[in-house]
């Protein structure tokens, strides 16, 4: 994984021309899977991810919780989504991501409002380009809202990391592969509470603080894109 790639250019920019605290472009669209109760599609840089939500009675009966909903998010990658062809089916990495994404969504869905229900969140990564787990969570959150599931707040995901010795926002694929650390995080913007946090790599405690404050600054912008996606749907619907 080591390499001599120079991730930060002499003028302090990144290989794709971004400033250290600059995000890639993000685009979200709702209502993309007609059969589902809610759905959303995100393009985050070159990532292309679709999420669809089904709300239904949990099955079999003995698996139901009589006083609250069960949430199950499943993160899945298409065969053509990554450099080397991905075999179908879950692997250890995708199972871990499914777990942390599920837990982040559980933190914000008002589970008590949906007794005996199961909220199935299917996430399909069509094209992967670093940061898929937080892009997945960000779009899944919109899909859950699109399905009319009661939520305390939207979940907003983001990554920061260390690359070429610098703390940078929203790692690119190269920065992810050849950088020093990766820190995906997700928060509920209203309370700024953290519902997903992972780290792997090598950062000092001060660098960690720098990274998290960079992400905290980026959250409102992502949050707005989510809101607009949901709004534009309602606008269209009203306009019909």
């Amino acid at each position: 994984m080591e390499s001599n790639i120079k991730l930060i250019t002499d003028d302090g920019l990144r290989l794709d021309g971004r400033a250290l605290n600059e995000m890639r472009p993000i685009k979200i669209q709702t209502g993309v899977v007609e059969k589902a109760d809610g759905s959303a599609y995100i393009e985050w840089g070159a990532n292309k991810i679709i999420a669809a939500v089904y709300v239904r009675e949990a099955y079999p009966k003995h698996a139901q919780n009589i006083d609250r909903a069960i949430v199950k998010a499943r993160y899945n990658m298409s065969g053509y989504s990554v450099e080397e062809r991905k075999r179908p089916g879950p692997d250890r990495r995708t199972m871990e991501i499914s777990k942390v994404v599920t837990e982040a969504l559980e933190s914000t869905i008002v589970l008590e409002k949906l007794p005996r229900a199961e909220v199935d969140v299917f996430i399909q990564v069509l094209e992967a380009d670093a940061g898929t787990r937080i892009a997945s969570l960000t779009t899944a959150s919109v899909a859950v809202a699109d399905a009319g599931v009661p939520m305390r707040d939207m979940v907003v995901g983001c990554t920061a990391g260390k690359a070429g010795g610098k703390i940078v926002l929203d790692l690119s694929k190269d920065e992810d592969n050849f950088g020093e650390a990766d820190i995906p995080m997700a928060i509920l913007p209203r309370t700024k509470k953290i519902v997903l946090l992972q780290l792997d790599g090598n950062v000092s405690q001060e660098e960690f603080d720098e990274a998290t404050s960079m992400m905290m600054n980026a959250i409102p912008r992502i949050s707005e894109i989510q809101r607009n996606a949901l709004m534009s749907k309602y606008n269209v619907e009203e306009g019909e």
Partner: protein, 260 residues
């Protein structure tokens, strides 16, 4: 056809649908042999070796290719390999489940695969790097994102489009990338029996009412390369012959419109 989705349609609507079709017109206004709006987005997945999103009305599928080096099969040392797989994603329909492919997904995959393979669309003999040792393997993965009927035709369109755009990464061998050599443009046309009529490009609702399914894949040579009678139900020989004619006609039109 999803197992327990028959119940979804009321008897009244079903009878209304059959009556309408008997009179040559479907509930959405289409004539019996007309497709819904077809939208093909080529190169939808830029990182893949070839790709396409195909929308047939609300039915939405994505085909993407990966082309890698690998060992040829023992009995065909001088041919590359194509492997095609359809995933009926659980997001696409309430009764689709996670896990290994269902019988339905496997049947669809094999029918789409046969049409492409038997039309000799791809000349696998041109995919050999070292005889018996190293060949190009073409992985055709097709994901069904939303299921509103007629998966086989949508997946064949998506796979054929992706293959027509495909680029072999010859640069990995220090040579040049080159376009996948393609010799034919097979088109699968599936027909459903509703009452005594045959209709094309059934919506999910129409599939649920139908009493038989027949797919015919024809190439520009006007020859038949794959057929599959699917699901319970019976056809007379005359109905089959009619289905072949219809497939031939529609195939020519689609080929004209979408593949120059």
């Amino acid at each position: 056809m999803p197992m327990d989705s028959n119940a979804v349609i009321s008897e009244i609507r079903k009878n209304f649908m059959l009556e309408s079709i008997k009179n040559g017109k479907r509930l959405d206004g289409r004539p019996l042999d007309e497709y819904r709006e077809i939208k093909i987005t080529e190169n939808f997945i830029p990182k893949s070796a070839g790709s396409a999103m195909v929308e047939l009305g609300n039915t939405k599928v994505v085909a993407g290719l990966k082309i890698e080096q690998g060992e040829p099969f023992d009995d065909t040392p001088d041919n590359g390999v194509m492997l095609l797989n359809i995933e009926l994603l659980p997001m696409a329909f309430p009764t689709f489940e996670s896990g290994p492919p269902s019988e339905q997904a496997i049947e669809y995959s094999r029918v789409v695969d046969r049409g492409i393979r038997e039309s000799k669309m791809i000349d696998t003999s041109k995919l050999v790097i070292e005889s018996g040792k190293n060949v190009w393997m073409i992985f055709v993965d097709i994901d069904v994102l939303n299921y509103d009927g007629n998966i086989i035709d949508a997946c064949t369109l998506a796979a054929v489009t992706a293959l027509k755009n495909a680029v072999i990464p010859g640069s990995k061998l220090g040579e040049k990338d080159f376009k996948l050599p393609v010799n034919a443009t097979p088109v699968a046309v599936t027909m459903w029996k509703l009452g005594d009529e045959l209709i094309c490009d059934a919506s999910l609702e129409e599939e649920q009412v139908s009493t038989g399914r027949i797919t015919v894949t024809i190439s520009e040579d006007n020859n038949i390369h794959a057929m599959q009678k699917g699901e319970i139900g019976e056809f007379s020989l005359e109905e089959i012959q009619k289905a072949i004619k219809t497939s031939s006609n529609i195939g020519n039109k689609l080929r004209e419109k979408y593949f120059r």
